[in-house]
Each structure stands twice: as structure tokens, then as C-alpha cells.
């Protein structure tokens, strides 16, 4: 996209000052595109989450506004924006007002470096993954601010829990990222995807046993960083009323939740990028070469296909995260910390070292064959686990199908 922009600006032969203006305009346009995507995604996901939760709890979920309740998120958003902006008397007003925007910014800014498809990225940074982990750390400051400024003991407990939790889990997630980075040899998210292939055995998750472990560590840590169940301690309803959210209502409350659902995309997209082959289309070995070889509509189609693949993988992960949220109970604070420092951090180090070792093994004379065998074996293992899971689900469903159940009262 950047190339396109420079081609255009050169063909128009802009003056330097006009050039600055054009760049500023370009930035605004790109931000607007990304923002509208994030807003739509967050809104629709809120509806999806509620419907999915409804199905899991054997109830219906929102189904009144629009077909299947699809417009519920608009109605809710509108309602919250029209509500009175309540700011309690005793709060630290500037901090209280500012905190939601910081949380939102932290999540939203991450979208700048996230890939959406082949070549579709707002800013193709060469330190992409580093930037994402750094900028999402803004969220913790916002949450801590919200907890402190609310002048409410429950909020403060929530804020402090959140600070401890997010800062701790940055370490294992960073280590898990590093174990992928040593394989890819770059921090650039597009290049990390380019280093993988279309089929599961080409993905980094099945690259070696250590990245498989790193995948699970990364998945759990990023759930913890995003305050999702089973790590939603900062806003634990049954313990801390609503944690740092307790005093918020209306628009500011929406900003927090906007950030939370947007974060759902950030975490899923990151996992897809790092471990699940990103936008790599199965069967296409060299997408960059293919795209460079064709012109016009064919080029657009290829890029669109890569976007579809990326979105499919990401949305499956979004569903998995929602699914986890409505299935698992919450951990206790000390259990959370024990899990991080006693298990995830040491095993994260192991993953990084092991991955590096595997790079060396793959470079040795017989390495190529050994690596292929390991990859295929791991993929087979993953497939087997998936099959067993599906089988068990089918058996459970069959066992519980009871024609009398809902008819008992007729």
C-alpha cells in the first residue's frame, strides 16, 4: 500500500509541502479505515459472543433488534453513548476521564502493525511484533489509572491485580514470541508469515516440539494479558464487583469494552501470524512470487484469497477464546502468579533455547529429513488430538439427546 501511495505521489509531482499534507491525509485515511474495521469487529463480536454464550448456556441470547438480534450491538452502543456521563464526586477527575482512552489507544495502536492479508498492513514495520507487545502495554497503565482514580477499594484491588498480572505475563508471552522469532530470523510480522507455508506441517506451531509448547504458553499468556477468562481477575465480578470498571458507565464504559473486544482480534491475529501460518494459502508455496507474476484482477483476487484465509483462521481463534471464556472458572491470584513464574517462564526459556537448537539441527547435513519427519509427526499428533476431541463431542451429544427432555411438560 505504501508503494502504491508513493507511485501515486510521484505521478502527481507534488511539492515538498504538498507532500507532507498528502502524507498526513494518507495517515488519516488509513487510521479511519482501520478504526472502522476495529469498531465493526468489536461490535459484531460483542453480538457473536452473546449469542454463542447463549447457545452454550442453553438459552437464546439477544434476538430482538434486527434479524437474529444482529443489530443489538448498535442499539447498545447508541444507548451507552447517549447516557449521562456520570463522574462520581470523590474521583480523581482528570485521571478518571483519561483512563478509558489510554486502554483503547493501547489496543487500537496495535492494529497499525497487524497484517490482514498479503501486503495488507497499515504500517509494515520491521520491528512489528516488538511494537505490538510494547504498545499493548499501554493498556495496563490505563487500567491501573482507572483503578486508582475511581477512589473505590474494589477498583483499586482490580487495578493492582491487573498490573501484576499483565506485567508478569508479558515475560512468558515474550519468550514464546522469541522462540518463533529465532526460526523466522525477523521481527517483521509479514516476514514471519512468509517464513511459513500453507499446510499445517509448514506452520511454526508444528515446526518442532518446542514451538508447540510455545504456542500453548503464548495462548495462555495472551489470554491473561487480555484479561479474558480464566484470567479475568481484574474485573472478577463475583469477587471485586466489577474491578476497575466499577465506577464507569456510559461512554467511558463502552471504551473499555471496545478495547476488550478489539483486543480479541489482536490476540487471535497475533497467534495466527506467529504460529498458524498467517495468510499462507494451502498449496501455494510462494505467494509473493505468484502475486508478482500476475496483474490486475488476478492480483486482487490472490490478495483477497490471502485475506480470507487469514480471517478464517483468526475468527476460529476468536471463537475458541469466547468458548474458553464461557466454559472455565477463574483462577485465584496466587495460582495465577504461580502458573506464570513457576511454569510458564522456565518453560518459555526452554522453548526459546529448544527452538534455537532446532534451527541448528535443521541446518546440519541430515537436518532437512529429520526436520520434515518431526514436522509431520507433530502435525499427525495434532490431527489425532483434534479427531479424538470431535469423536468425544459427538458421543457426548448422542448420549444426551433425550427426546423427552423438552417435551416432559407437553
Amino acid at each position: 500500500m505504501k508503494e502504491l501511495f508513493f507511485e501515486l505521489s510521484q505521478s502527481w509531482q507534488l511539492e515538498p509541502l504538498e507532500m507532507t499534507g498528502a502524507i498526513a491525509l494518507w495517515l488519516v485515511v488509513v487510521s479511519a479505515i482501520v478504526l472502522s474495521f476495529v469498531a465493526t469487529f468489536a461490535g459484531v463480536t460483542s453480538w457473536v459472543e452473546r449469542r454463542v454464550a447463549g447457545r452454550m448456556m442453553s438459552r437464546i441470547g439477544p434476538n430482538r433488534v434486527g434479524p437474529q438480534g444482529f443489530l443489538q450491538w448498535m442499539a447498545d452502543g447508541l444507548k451507552c453513548f447517549l447516557k449521562e456521563d456520570v463522574i462520581p464526586n470523590e474521583v480523581d477527575k482528570p485521571l478518571f476521564r483519561f483512563a478509558p482512552y489510554l486502554v483503547f489507544t493501547g489496543t487500537f495502536a496495535a492494529f497499525a502493525a497487524l497484517p490482514f492479508g498479503y501486503g495488507i498492513v497499515a504500517a509494515d514495520l520491521n520491528i512489528g511484533i516488538f511494537y505490538v507487545t510494547a504498545i499493548t502495554a499501554l493498556v495496563v497503565i490505563g487500567i491501573l489509572m482507572a483503578g486508582w482514580s475511581s477512589n473505590n477499594k474494589w477498583s483499586l484491588l482490580g487495578g493492582v491485580r491487573s498490573a501484576a498480572q499483565i506485567v508478569s505475563y508479558e515475560i512468558p508471552s515474550g519468550l514464546a514470541i522469541l522462540s518463533v522469532v529465532v526460526l523466522a530470523g525477523t521481527l517483521n510480522l509479514q516476514a514471519i508469515i512468509a517464513g511459513q507455508g500453507g499446510f499445517p506441517w509448514d506452520w511454526y506451531i508444528f515446526n518442532n516440539p518446542f514451538t508447540l509448547m510455545a504456542f500453548f504458553i503464548f495462548f495462555a499468556s495472551i489470554l491473561a494479558e487480555g484479561n479474558r477468562t480464566p484470567f479475568d481477575l481484574p474485573e472478577a465480578e463475583s469477587e471485586l464487583v466489577a474491578g476497575y470498571l466499577t465506577e464507569y458507565s456510559g461512554m467511558r464504559f463502552v471504551f473499555f469494552f471496545f478495547g476488550e473486544w478489539a483486543n480479541l482480534w489482536v490476540m487471535s491475529a497475533l497467534i495466527t501470524t506467529l504460529f498458524l501460518g498467517g495468510w499462507q494459502i494451502p498449496g501455494v508455496a510462494d505467494l509473493a512470487g505468484v502475486v508478482a507474476g500476475v496483474q490486475g484482477a488476478a492480483k486482487t483476487l490472490w490478495i483477497l484469497l490471502s485475506v480470507v484465509v487469514f480471517f478464517a483462521k483468526t475468527l476460529v481463534l476468536v471463537f475458541v477464546v469466547i468458548w474458553i471464556r464461557w466454559t472455565l472458572p477463574r483462577l485465584r491470584v496466587d495460582q495465577l502468579m504461580v502458573m506464570c513464574w513457576k511454569y510458564f517462564v522456565p518453560f518459555g526459556f526452554l522453548c526459546m533455547m529448544g527452538s534455537a537448537l532446532f534451527v541448528l539441527i535443521a541446518q546440519s547435513p541430515l537436518g532437512e529429513t529429520v526436520h520434515l519427519v518431526v514436522r509431520l509427526a507433530l502435525t499427525g499428533l495434532g490431527g489425532l488430538v483434534l479427531l479424538l476431541f470431535v469423536r468425544r463431542t459427538i458421543l457426548n451429544v448422542r448420549e444426551l439427546q433425550d427426546p423427552f427432555y423438552f417435551k416432559v411438560l407437553e
Binding site: 463475583s238 472458572p329 477463574r330 483462577l331 495460582q335 457426548n396 433425550d402 423427552f404
Partner: protein, 377 residues
């Protein structure tokens, strides 16, 4: 009131009001906590927000008219309030309840125990952050509520029993429907266990947590599932038989440390799960062996029991529910007094809670299955 205000002795503690509007106090209860970080240094339970002077109202109401108030003693297990009051008045009057009526009472009570325990285990899962099990439990409860509606016309506040029996017989076909539900319910419990009971996070949150030793449980006057989960094998249905219970076979469930120790939160949870299955067994036996006959004994329209006092007790879903009744020979009781399981369960808090974390307190409080109106009456 001054002694209720907690003193800040350590200089590093925070006083926090948990309740009266807190999501996991299960009603209007105020727990004053003195926190050191997240660890509770001291707890002061303050009750009385839901006092409705039911016992005083009893002294101003004729005997039959007091019956609907007994629903409100514990709104999650209203049948037991009905039964304990009816048993007290019947004992004063010297009325013999027909066997069929006793069986119907047992069926209603055990169904009530099932739905009360469903709420208990469901809310306990919710206190630990898992929402789905709660709604699955509620789904089963709704089915039983529909049965209750067909048995007595009400879904929550039943007012089912009358002095001398029950007002009407089972409607035709209801027994078959209840048996069908029991078949389904016996499959539901394993499903529920797969969903939450065996969940490793859930188990790790509960085992070895807030252990109440048997001696403490007895000295605090705990009863019902809370007492049995501490390893004390005591059940009024078996040890002081009333109604038709001697005619049924059932196991008294005690908490023998399924995982962790006897008397921990997981034992209290598990005892309730098991008791639901035992109740289902009792309902099944009662429905299959339902004797023929009247459902109500002959009782004078104007009830004036002779002078005297009586204490009757039933095994409610929250422990021993007792009714102490004094009659002066008039149309209204001279004194009515209820003994409830929730109130005694509150007394165990200051002993066990200090040293736990806030998150543990919600788990512990949920495992005691306290219902706020039953504490205050």
C-alpha cells in the same frame, strides 16, 4: 454499633464493605473485611438487612393463616418451612396425617431439595467465575418448577401443605412425568460433573480450602450438608425419623475428602451433588410406592390447639430447620420461633475466614450455601 466497626490495628490494612450490594453475598448481607493486601485479616458478618419479623407475625396470625409466611423463611426451599410448621401444629393438635399425604409431602420436599441444591452448586460455580454451569442448573430447576406448579399451583412460594395433610392429590399423569424427569436428571448430573465438577481449575480452587473440622462444625451448630461434609454422619431424616422417611432407602452422604480433605469447600460442593441423586432416589421410591387413601386428615375449621409447647425439626436443604411453637389455647400461637441452617452457618465465618483471600471468601461463602432471608427471617 461501635463494636461492629473494625479497628485498624496494623496500620497497613484496609476496611472494605463486602455487601450489602455485592454480587456474591447471595442476598443482602454485609461482610466487613479488614484486608491486608488481598488477605483477609478479620471478618465481621453483619446480618439483619432482611429481617421481616416473621416470628412476630406468627403471634398475630391464626394457625392456618401463618402458613404462607413459612414459605418466606427460606424462599429457595419453601416446602421445608411448610412442613416443619405443619408438623408442629399437628403435634400440638394430635392429628394423624394420612400416609398418602406423607408420601406426597416427601415427594414435594425432595424435589425441593433437588432444586435448592441445583441453585447452590450453580451459584458456587458462578462465584468462581464459570457462568455456564449456573444456567444449566437453572434449566433443570425450571423443569422442576413446572412440576411444582402442577403439584401446588406456585413455582417458588408453594404454600403446599395444610395442617393435617396436603390440599389436593397429584394430578393424573404427573407421576409419570416426574419419573421421566428423574431419568433425565440422573444423566444430567454426570454431564454437569463433566462440565464443572471435574474441571481442574475448579477443583484446585476448592480443595483444602477453608476446612471446617468436625469439632468446629458441631460447636458452631452447623447442620445439614455443611455438617455432613465435615465428616459428621448426621441426618434428621434417618436419625430422628419423621414423616414417611423410615420407609425409604437412601444413603446419608458425608464428605470423605473426594479430592483434598474432609470438610473443605470441595467436600461441601460434592455432598450437595450426591444428595441430589439420593433425593432423586427417594422421589422415585415414593412415586412407585404411593399408597392409596385420603390426602388430608379431618381437622376442625377453627384451629385451637390445647395449651403446650412443641419443637419439630426437618432436614431442610440448608440443615436442620426447626419450629418451636407455644400455644396458650387460643386461635393464635403465643410464640413462634424458627431455627434455620443459614444463621448458624454464618457463625462459622469469623473462625475460618481470617487468612483466606478475597477470592477464597466468595468460594467459601458460596460453599456454605447461605440464603439471606433465612438468616434474618
Amino acid at each position: 454499633m461501635t463494636q461492629l466497626i473494625l479497628e485498624d490495628q496494623h496500620g497497613e490494612t484496609t476496611m472494605v464493605n463486602m455487601g450489602p450490594q455485592h454480587p456474591s453475598t447471595h442476598g443482602v448481607i454485609n461482610l466487613r473485611l479488614l484486608l491486608q493486601g488481598e488477605v483477609i485479616a478479620k471478618i465481621d458478618p453483619i446480618v439483619g438487612f432482611l429481617h421481616r419479623s416473621i416470628e412476630k407475625l406468627g403471634e398475630m396470625t391464626p394457625y392456618p393463616g401463618f402458613l404462607p409466611y413459612t414459605d418466606r423463611v427460606d424462599y429457595l426451599s419453601a416446602m421445608f418451612g411448610n412442613q416443619v410448621y405443619c408438623m408442629a401444629v399437628e403435634e400440638l393438635l394430635g392429628v394423624e396425617v394420612p400416609r398418602r399425604a406423607e408420601y406426597l409431602r416427601v415427594i414435594a420436599c425432595e424435589l425441593n431439595r433437588i432444586i435448592s441444591h441445583l441453585i447452590a452448586v450453580g451459584t458456587m460455580a458462578m462465584d468462581l467465575g464459570a457462568f455456564t454451569p449456573f444456567l444449566h442448573a437453572i434449566r433443570e430447576r425450571e423443569t422442576v418448577n413446572d412440576f411444582m406448579e402442577r403439584i401446588c399451583g406456585a413455582r417458588i412460594n408453594y404454600s403446599y401443605m395444610r395442617i393435617g395433610g396436603v390440599p389436593r392429590d397429584l394430578e393424573p399423569g404427573l407421576d409419570k412425568d416426574i419419573l421421566k424427569f428423574l431419568d433425565r436428571f440422573e444423566k444430567f448430573i454426570p454431564e454437569f460433573n463433566r462440565l464443572i465438577t471435574g474441571n481442574e481449575i475448579f477443583v484446585r480452587r476448592l480443595i483444602d480450602l477453608a476446612v471446617i473440622p468436625a469439632a468446629d462444625a458441631i460447636s458452631c451448630g452447623l447442620s445439614g450438608p455443611n455438617l455432613r461434609s465435615s465428616g459428621v454422619d448426621y441426618d434428621l431424616r434417618r436419625d430422628r425419623p419423621y414423616s414417611a422417611y423410615p420407609e425409604f432407602e437412601f444413603r446419608v452422604v458425608t464428605g470423605e475428602g473426594y479430592r483434598g480433605q474432609t470438610g473443605d469447600c470441595y467436600a461441601r460442593y460434592w455432598v450437595r451433588i450426591d444428595e441430589m441423586l439420593e433425593s432423586a432416589k427417594i422421589v422415585r421410591q415414593a412415586l412407585l410406592g404411593l399408597p392409596e387413601g385420603d390426602v388430608k386428615a379431618k381437622v376442625p375449621r377453627k384451629i385451637t390447639p390445647p395449651k403446650g409447647e412443641v419443637y419439630s425439626a426437618v432436614e431442610s436443604s440448608r440443615g436442620e430447620m426447626g419450629c418451636y411453637l407455644v400455644s396458650d389455647g387460643g386461635e393464635q400461637p403465643l410464640r413462634v420461633r424458627f431455627r434455620t441452617g443459614s444463621f448458624t452457618a454464618m457463625t462459622v465465618l469469623p473462625k475460618i475466614v481470617p487468612g483466606l483471600m478475597v477470592a477464597d471468601l466468595t468460594a467459601f461463602f458460596g460453599s456454605l450455601d447461605v440464603v439471606a432471608p433465612e438468616i434474618d427471617r
